[in-house]
């Protein structure tokens, strides 16, 4: 009985809630940097900044899911410039709607909300990875082929644009 009560307590404390987000907007709350310093192994795309000389996007990949299910894109943005940068939007022609989200976790409770702070500090980086920051890709207008690449345009508050390619990966891709 004690064990069941303990289990129930654990279950309650470990339960997580994923909440909806407002799409495509950004706030300015707590820094995201601390949550995104851990390693991610999905860096297979060979992307470099195009228009910006100081911002680079690498390791961009998309979890391919059957149409019309929305999917997510993950990537790493690095800033080698002398000013902080903030990602404001992301566009892919294969999806009619793309928005920036994040999953937060507080005391075992996770919540998916709009991406509050997409700041990339000088000499720093921001990781979009499963269970954390992610770009939600909605309303796919075509089926993506696994193994193909999709062009993505990242826009920053400075007006800079970075174009990168994202690898289309299978649904069961696990990113450590």
């Amino acid at each position: 009985m004690k064990r069941i009560a303990f289990s129930m307590l654990m279950l309650y404390s470990a339960s997580s809630v994923y909440a909806a987000s407002v799409h495509g907007q950004h706030g300015s709350a707590a820094s995201a940097q601390n949550q995104d310093k851990t390693a991610q192994s999905a860096n297979t795309s060979q992307d470099k900044a195009s228009n910006s000389k100081t911002l680079t996007v690498s390791g961009c990949w998309i979890r391919s899911l059957p149409k019309p299910v929305p999917s997510a894109a993950y990537f790493v943005i690095k800033n080698s410039g002398t000013n902080d940068a903030e990602l404001t939007s992301l566009a892919m022609s294969e999806f009619d709607e793309v928005s920036l989200h994040q999953t937060t976790n507080h005391g075992g409770q996770s919540k998916m909300v709009m991406a509050h702070n997409t700041l990339i500090p000088v000499a720093g980086e921001l990781k979009f990875k499963p269970g954390s920051y992610h770009a939600m890709l909605e309303k796919p207008n075509q089926a993506l082929t696994i193994g193909s690449q999709v062009k993505a345009e990242f826009a920053f508050d400075s007006g800079e644009i970075v174009t990168a390619t994202c690898d289309v990966k299978p649904p069961n891709t696990v990113s450590e």
């Binding site: 289990s7 994923y18 899911l65 909605e138 649904p171």
Partner: protein
């Protein structure tokens, strides 16, 4: 008289075995939270993505992993499904005795057609389960799963707040484990292997 002794012997043996089985269930060590014996999550009655009514009894002899989610959840749900697919790979031939079930918390949008494309996209053996709104709500309650449908935005798009984690039954249809999202593929595979031995 001999017959009587035989009957008594059989009864004693059966009692001892039943006791062992209960003890095994009670003393097994798992990385996940052991919820054995809880008065909930005993069963479900939902239709799979092929149109077949399913209860836990259909999977006798298999460890059953149950995940509650929905297909319009772009990050955490597919991440969990991918992890479970990876667990199946890790289990090798033991995976034949494991059944992963994804119960949709959003039956309005997750039609059988969508579930049929979605669940097997992660692993061919995965089954999507669906009920009507009332069945979905009662199943979520039975598993202590939080489920709140958010108000639709201007485009009619909405999300569903829900608990994370997965549940695991042993091959005898007993709900045994709550596996939170932090457990690794290796840890989950180890726990499921242990369940298969019960």
């Amino acid at each position: 008289m001999k017959k009587l002794y035989r009957i008594i012997g059989v009864i004693l043996l059966a009692t001892a075995l039943a006791g062992c089985q209960q003890d095994n269930a009670a003393t097994q060590e798992f990385a996940a939270t052991d919820i054995t014996g809880g008065p909930w999550g005993g069963n479900f009655q939902l239709v799979d993505h092929n149109g077949q009514l399913r209860t836990i009894a259909d999977f006798e002899g298999k460890a059953v992993v149950v995940f509650f989610g929905y297909t319009n959840c772009p990050d955490v749900c597919p991440t969990t499904m991918a992890k479970l697919a990876s667990v199946m790979e890790q289990l090798g031939s033991d995976a034949e005795r494991v059944q992963v079930l994804m119960v949709t918390l959003d039956p309005k949008r997750d039609t059988p057609e969508i579930l049929k494309k979605y669940a097997p996209a992660f692993h061919p053996s995965f089954l999507g389960l669906r009920g009507n709104e009332q069945q979905t709500e009662s199943t979520a309650k039975e598993f202590k799963t939080l489920r709140t449908l958010q108000s639709p935005d201007e485009n009619g798009s909405y999300t569903v707040d829900h608990s994370g984690g997965t549940y695991a039954y042993d091959p005898h249809g007993r709900l045994r484990l709550y596996i939170n999202d932090q457990h690794s593929v290796e840890t989950i595979a180890k726990d499921i292997r242990a369940l298969l031995k019960t």
